[in-house]
């Protein structure tokens, strides 16, 4: 393997780690609330714009942005669950999805109205610092943001595994009726799950923003990407989101190196379709879902 290929693979892994944090919230929303959250990426788009505004108006660093975005999007998640998502909990699955499609369009319109269609960029203090690895250089942004994303991911994972709330959430994801019988307050579970999922995706979006762009329609790409990743890994599986994120990251990096950068998104989509067809439960999926 030549050094250049190692660099490409490394870059894929670094981006993949950020993808994992981006998409892990969707698996929680799907698993616990059973909402096909089509506006998932659009909320991320709002987080990216929030970060952009913080930079433009206050000159806040990326890390300060995360400290501000965290409570803000936790609150936004709670509000969305209570006043938007809660209204459709008892509707059929496809109505839920179309409702969320409507919400996605609404947020796109809002972004178009407030920030216009111009493409914006979020800066990182580290983007011009390069690190030598093997056969090439890689921006420090990739490495530091990857590490941060992994820290958040690990924190989220531990929270789900160790705390009482986390256990209650996992219990509700497995069997809602049994969870209710044991005295779990399902409404509180819905609220907390949606809030935490929103905040994870928002932090993921802020970390991802410096290596991507921000625009009113970036949400659809992010929704599709997140959906691809969680389905690839296995819906409802946290470890699956990590695996899916890494696979998509590496596939994108490799195909843009071996073929052309235009083929990047295409190859990820084709991998997704193949997995959907031949292993609809995903790579680490446990339960059967129809």
């Amino acid at each position: 393997m030549d050094g250049f290929l190692i660099q490409i693979l490394l870059r894929g892994v670094l981006v993949g780690g950020m993808y994992a944090l981006l998409s892990v919230g969707l698996t929680l929303i799907f698993g616990v609330l059973e909402i096909p959250h089509f506006a998932y990426g659009d909320v991320m788009m709002l987080a990216m714009y929030t970060c952009y505004w913080l930079q433009v108006f206050t000159g806040a660093s990326l890390f300060l942005s995360i400290i501000i975005v965290f409570p803000l999007y936790l609150a936004l998640g709670f509000i969305l669950q209570k006043f938007v998502v809660n209204k459709i909990m008892d509707k059929p699955e496809l109505s839920k999805m179309l409702f969320m499609v409507g919400f996605s369009l609404f947020l796109q319109g809002l972004a178009l109205f407030v920030w216009t269609a111009d493409t914006r960029f979020v800066k990182s203090e580290l983007q011009n610092i390069y690190v030598d690895i093997g056969g090439g250089k890689i921006s420090l942004t990739y490495i530091v943001n990857f590490v941060m994303a992994m820290l958040f991911f690990a924190g989220f994972y531990l929270w789900l595994q160790k705390t009482f709330m986390g256990k209650a959430i996992r219990a509700s994801a497995q069997n809602k009726d049994l969870a209710l019988v044991t005295g779990i307050n399902i409404h509180k579970i819905f609220l907390v799950s949606f809030g935490i999922a929103t905040v994870m995706s928002a932090v993921g979006a802020v970390l991802f923003a410096p290596i991507y762009y921000v625009g009113p329609f970036v949400g659809l790409e992010l929704t599709l990407k997140s959906f691809m990743i969680v389905v690839l890994g296995g819906l409802g599986s946290i470890e699956g989101a990590l695996l899916g994120g890494l696979i998509i990251g590496v596939v994108e990096a490799l195909s843009s190196y071996l073929l052309s950068s235009e083929v990047k998104d295409l190859s990820a989509l084709i991998i997704f379709l193949l997995v959907l067809l031949f292993k609809p439960k995903g790579l680490l999926g446990k339960e059967v879902r129809e």
């Binding site: 496809l94 609404f106 947020l107 319109g109």
Partner: protein, 323 residues
């Protein structure tokens, strides 16, 4: 829902409406009015198309733009590159779309509900990217211009809007007749059975995959025709319009707004919504997001407040008037 003794009366009423609509452009020469009418007819075609797969079969496709795009691009590219007549291109486009829909359907109908929806969306994205990447054939993201050739039926090129009006009217009637025929046929009942309970439908011997594929193919053919009409009218197409989510979504929005799984629901939805949206687009041209916000808010409100669509209100009104 309409009582059968009034059937002849209703048919007469419909025929009369049709005659009035045919004569309309010769009386009212307003280009704005004709433009709006053409748009309404175009959107009736695709919303009836979505109605077949989403309304009757209950399979939410978010990738119908694939066939819209294929219909538009096939005719134009064959015409420009190989000098094949546009009408022949229309037929070839329809055949392409039908074959494609069978293949895509055969693969994607293994999935259900949300997964089917996302799979079709992914397929549409694949097509969009392919048409962007293969610049050598499709001229890439710049899109293709269909040159104006003076008044010529063979080149589907007219100075006046009237021929486009009549063309789109004719095909929208065809779309309505197709759905009306399907809704009364065995196929229509099979589709409803699949929508209500697919496992039960299979257990009584319905080949559910085949039935869904037939609905999907009909939907694809109508979309393909609409794509052709769109490109001959607007005389320009690019991959973002042709394969974008907008085209796939608007047909769902219009159908649900009017009433999914009914013959006249999509027509009602389109007639109410398209002029309204067009008006908004023109008046709020400076506030570009408003249109999207309106689309989204409407979709949310309809699903919350009247999941049966506007047609249920009209029906109640008719019932009330008659009693």
């Amino acid at each position: 829902m309409i009582p059968s003794k009034n059937l002849a009366e209703n048919k007469l009423l419909l025929l009369l409406t049709f005659v009035i609509l045919v004569v309309l452009p010769f009386i009212a020469q307003s280009p704005l009015l004709l433009h709006l009418a053409i748009l309404v007819y175009l959107y009736i075609i695709i919303s009836e198309a979505w109605n077949l797969i989403g309304g009757y079969a209950g399979q939410v496709s978010l990738g119908n733009a694939v066939f819209f795009g294929v219909g538009a691009y096939t005719a134009v590219l064959l015409y420009l590159n190989l000098n094949i007549n546009l009408w022949v291109g229309l037929i070839i486009g329809i055949i392409f779309s039908a074959v494609l829909s069978a293949v895509i359907g055969y693969i994607c109908f293994r999935l259900h509900g949300v997964f089917f929806a996302f799979a079709t969306l992914a397929v549409a994205e694949v097509f969009k990217l392919l048409f962007i990447i293969r610049k050598d054939i499709t001229q890439g993201p710049m899109g293709v211009v269909l040159p104006y050739k003076g008044d010529s039926i063979l080149d589907v090129s007219f100075a006046s809007k009237t021929p486009y009006y009549l063309l789109t009217l004719a095909f929208s009637v065809l779309a309505i007749l197709t759905v009306s025929y399907v809704s009364k046929s065995k196929l229509g009942y099979y589709l409803l059975a699949v929508r209500e309970d697919e496992v039960a439908a299979r257990s009584v011997g319905i080949n559910t995959v085949l039935v869904k594929i037939i609905a999907f193919t009909l939907s694809a053919i109508l979309n393909s025709i609409a794509g052709f009409l769109y490109v001959t009218y607007i005389r320009y197409i690019d991959p973002y319009v042709a394969f974008g989510l907008d085209i796939s979504l608007i047909q769902a929005l219009l159908t649900i707004m009017g009433g999914a799984g009914t013959v006249w629901g999509p027509v009602l939805g389109t007639v109410i919504l398209i002029p309204l949206l067009e008006l908004f687009r023109v008046y709020f041209v400076k506030f570009s997001g408003i249109n999207y916000m309106l689309h989204g808010a409407l979709l949310m409100i309809i699903i919350l407040l009247m999941p049966q669509g506007a047609i249920s209100i009209v029906r109640r009104l008719i019932k009330w008037l008659k009693s």
